[in-house]
């Protein structure tokens, strides 16, 4: 059926074109022979082709354009009175004898154009007559094209100010009146198309109507181009009349198009000054009109206008643009009960964009917009439309992008309330956006209040929120989130120790709520933040009498103790151990022996009870030894207790080589190289000898297991340690002892029937080279090393 229709249309169009060409041919002949009568006859016949009802708008346009071209030639002929001998006044009357109304009116408009040009009558009179006469054609399609023709030929002949057709007083009014009338009639015809034909073809009709819309819109464009239409006239006459037609036609297609047209075609300055009128029309439109898009586009235009120059900004304030737009939007949303969430939120996004561009300093406006959005979101049960969610994210991101300083966004009281309406997943995405904004701009958040607000915003990351599906959590994503929070903690800082301590306590409060999964990520940052504060306080003296107890290192160490305790309960013993040792060192620097001792105790407990993996134990014991070695705050008793423990655990590590290494590491606990440091040569040697025994035992075991000695690396390591203390002046280590050790190593090497271990060989070789080097140094060192006979 459709295919047949299309084929038929092609046929009819072809017939129409043929008809036009046929009559045009004879018309041209008549023009050439100055035969007016014949010209009129054939032109009328030609124009009769436009009387067809069979063509769609698209095809009709084709036909119309051909006729249009021919009429131009006819117009030239009409103008040249010399050729046809009839005055334009008479011609105007003559063409009205054409049989059918449509050709008659096309001809009349054509002559009318010549008439106006001749200036034999005022433009306004001719135009008035023509626009009235065109009422004779009430068929929508034909009428639209006819009036479009009228608009085209009259375009340059309007009695505008400064035009050659300017009349006397009120001349612009006449021009405006003409265009307005043509526009009104065209719109009526256009709307009437909607009701033509059967209901099932509505979609087709709407499509056809859309093809014709620019014919109607052109009139508004013409109005905007009339010089004489100033703000006053626009306000008093043009806009009210246009809006009257828009509202009264009660057709949603027309209303949507024309509202948009008005906004696009007239200057932004005019819109600002007529905002109330323009917005006042909105609630009067059909409920099916997509008014939110119209309003969005209006706000976008006004935003761009504001951005174009700073001079225009006061105007916005003067007309109270924000209040008016805000009210209008509110009314529209209220009126259109069925508007989906995405629609309302898109409106708010446009309004927010407008506000940020035009009134960036008015945070109260920004907050109002967010508040209005919250109100709307509260009225819907759940936000599950992904497009709506996207819009909410856009809404929340806009202030962040505008105000690089997140602190500004934190002052918007409605911001967290908007976030609350996001689903968990999106809420977390938004939280990450906020954190990234802080990191990118290197923003420092420096008061407890702001920290609280910030943590409220990112609470989706900090803890499990109700209804969060924990199983769905992707491990990688979770890690990224927690690491982001960890990094964020370093951005929370205040120079003033009291405030900083409060911040630390606030952060602790929130991170504790995160539960065992999150603590290993967030606690380290918190701990180091606190350690930095302690360093800052170290310079400062005593307590301030009479005031609230100030932040002191002791207080902070207590806090740290508890924090690490919480961490170890996760359980996360290895991390807790490392942090305990860091705190011990810090306590050492603060000269707090008891506190440092407590942290070591904590570390040892963790080691004893929680760290079972042998590799982890090796690292842990080395960390303990390394830290202990640097302690200078301990009295003899405490130091001895801790040292004894360390050596004990070292000797009890699972594998012999590990035992050996840990034990010789312990030798350094008895020898600290600075001025007041302990230098107990005997106990150093005892350690080294113990290490040697373990190395021997390791060799024996290797013998038993593999039938040959293991690599002599351990011995070479111990040898190096002997040399170390020998150099440092440990009297207990003699050249002879070193000699003996070297001989032992060589013996072991010979016994090792397995393939020689190049690594331990090279190690021994470089050690021997070192000894040589020291001997050749001369002086005291050289002498010393001379005592090692090789």
């Amino acid at each position: 059926m459709m295919l047949n229709g299309a084929e038929d249309e092609e046929k009819w169009l072809a017939e129409g074109i043929a008809g036009i060409q046929h009559n045009a041919f004879y018309m041209h002949r008549a023009l050439d022979s100055n035969n007016l009568r014949e010209a009129l006859k054939y032109s009328a016949q030609m124009l009769s082709e436009l009387r067809t009802s069979k063509l769609s708008p698209h095809k009709y346009y084709d036909l119309y354009m051909r006729a249009f071209d021919e009429l131009r030639k006819l117009e030239i002929f009409f103008k040249d009175e010399g050729k046809h001998g009839v005055s334009v006044v008479d011609l105007y009357e003559l063409v009205q004898h054409a049989g059918n109304i449509l050709p008659r009116l096309y001809l009349l408009c054509t002559v009318g154009s010549v008439y106006i040009k001749s200036k034999e009558a005022p433009a306004k009179e001719v135009l008035k007559d023509l626009v009235e006469m065109c009422r004779g054609v009430q068929h929508p399609l034909r009428g639209l094209f006819l009036r479009s023709y009228l608009a085209q030929v009259s375009r340059d002949k309007l009695p505008d100010i400064g035009s050659e057709y300017e009349g006397d007083a009120d001349t612009v009014m006449d021009a405006v009146e003409f265009v307005l009338q043509n526009f009104t009639e065209m719109n009526k015809l256009w709307v009437r198309m909607q009701h033509q034909g059967p209901g099932r073809l509505r979609e087709k009709r709407e499509k056809e109507r859309n093809e014709l819309r620019d014919l109607v819109g052109k009139n508004l464009h013409v109005l905007s181009q009339i010089e004489g239409v100033d703000l006053e006239m626009y306000k008093e006459t043009v806009l009210p009349r246009v809006l009257e037609q828009v509202v009264n036609c009660k057709d949603d297609l027309s209303q949507y198009y024309l509202m948009d047209c008005i906004i696009q075609v007239f200057p932004d300055e005019y819109h600002l000054q007529t905002l109330e009128t323009l917005l006042g029309a909105c609630p009067q439109l059909q409920p099916t009109v997509d008014i939110k898009t119209v309003l969005s586009r209006l706000m976008d235009r006004l935003s761009n206008y504001a951005a174009s120059s700073a001079d225009v900004l006061p105007e916005f304030l003067q007309v109270e643009a924000f209040a008016k737009l805000s009210n209008a939007i509110g009314k529209v949303i209220e009126a259109q009960v069925d508007m989906p969430a995405v629609g309302a939120i898109t409106l708010y996004v446009s309004l927010l964009t407008f506000t940020l561009r035009v009134h960036p300093d008015r945070l109260d406006y920004v907050d109002l917009v967010l508040g209005a959005c919250v109100k709307k979101l509260s009225s819907i049960p759940k936000l599950d439309d992904s497009r709506a969610t996207k819009q909410v994210v856009a809404l929340l991101s806009a202030p962040l992008e505008k105000y690089n300083d997140i602190v500004t966004a934190l002052t918007l009281s409605n911001y967290p309330r908007v976030m609350d309406h996001l689903d968990n997943g999106t809420n977390k995405v938004m939280a990450m956006v906020i954190i990234q904004s802080i990191m990118k701009n290197n923003t420092c958040i420096s008061t407890v209040d702001k920290v609280e607000v910030l943590f409220e915003l990112i609470k989706g990351l900090i803890k499990d929120t109700d209804g969060a599906d924990v199983d769905e959590l992707d491990e990688e994503d979770f890690k990224d989130e927690q690491n982001a929070v960890a990094r964020l903690i370093h951005m929370l800082y205040n120079n003033e120790p009291e405030e900083m301590l409060k911040i630390i306590c606030t952060v602790r409060k929130h991170t504790m709520a995160g539960g065992p999964k999150r603590l290993p990520f967030t606690v380290p940052s918190l701990v180091f933040s606190a350690l930095r504060l302690i360093r800052q306080l170290q310079g400062q003296e005593g307590d301030i009498v009479g005031e609230e107890v100030p932040a002191t290192p002791k207080k902070i160490f207590q806090l740290l103790n508890q924090i690490i305790e919480d961490l170890s309960n996760v359980p996360s013993p290895e991390l807790a151990l490392r942090l305990s040792l860091q705190c011990a060192e810090a306590a050492n620097d603060c000269d707090l022996e008891h506190v440092a001792y407590e942290f070591f105790t904590q570390a040892f407990v963790l080691y004893e009870e929680e760290i079972a993996d042998s590799k982890a134990q090796v690292t842990a014991i080395h960390l303990i030894i390394g830290t202990l070695q640097r302690m200078n705050v301990f009295g003899v008793e405490n130091r001895d207790t801790l040292t004894h423990k360390a050596t004990g655990y070292s000797a009890r590590l699972l594998k012999k080589p590990d035992q050996c290494r840990a034990v010789y590491a312990c030798s350094h606990l008895f020898w600290v190289d600075d001025q007041d440091g302990i230098k107990d040569g005997e106990r150093v040697l005892l350690c080294l000898k113990r290490a040697l025994r373990i190395a021997n035992a390791a060799q024996q075991m290797a013998n038993v297991a593999r039938g040959s000695s293991g690599p002599v690396t351990l011995f070479v390591e111990i040898l190096n340690k002997y040399l170390y203390f020998f150099e440092k002046g440990n009297q207990q280590i003699t050249g002879a002892a070193i000699q003996g050790l070297i001989e032992l190593i060589n013996t072991e090497k010979q016994n090792d029937s397995a393939t020689p271990d190049s690594a331990s060989d090279a190690f021994l070789a470089s050690t021997m080279r070192y000894i040589q080097f020291q001997r050749q140094k001369g002086g005291i060192m050289g002498e010393k090393f001379e005592s090692i006979k090789l």
Partner: protein, 190 residues
Amino acid sequence: MVLVLAIGDLHIPHRAPDLPPKFKSMLVPGKIQHIICTGNLCVKEVHDYFKSLCPDLHVTRGEFDEDSRYPENKTLTIGQFKLGICHGHQVIPWGDLDSLAMLQRQLDVDILVTGHTHQFKAYKHEGGVVINPGSATGAYSSFTYDVNPSFVLMDIDGLRVVVYVYELIDGEVKVDKIDFKKTATTRSAQ
């Protein structure tokens, strides 16, 4: 000319949020042939970032590193030089140059790159050169109160290595350089 970046002890996110922006803008992909990282990154994100700068990345384990699979130490050859990497918390006393020299002898390398103390050092001894690139983020260190962010770029050319140290001091990047030559016959760097 072979460029080797020596960098470590960033402690991201435990002690620092990120590399200083001025360092980030200097570290551009495609310019460096090898990266040697002493450890304590501490998270995968940093590893990936280094990988993006240069695919030949060598990392040793720091005590706070999230990934426990990094080796305790590593050796590699670049041109005429043998390099060794070790974070340094394993060598007691920490930061003690003689003890580090022992490790260097044990690993049998010309250049030992080590960290842990967050203090830049370039030290020549009988057995070779010890280089500590410091902390690239200037992270908190129990060793010293005064940590400036720093890293090292080594230009290895034949038997010569030029060590460029980049330090961020009061917001400005300061560069210093030290020359080391290795004699072909002996093993020691003179």
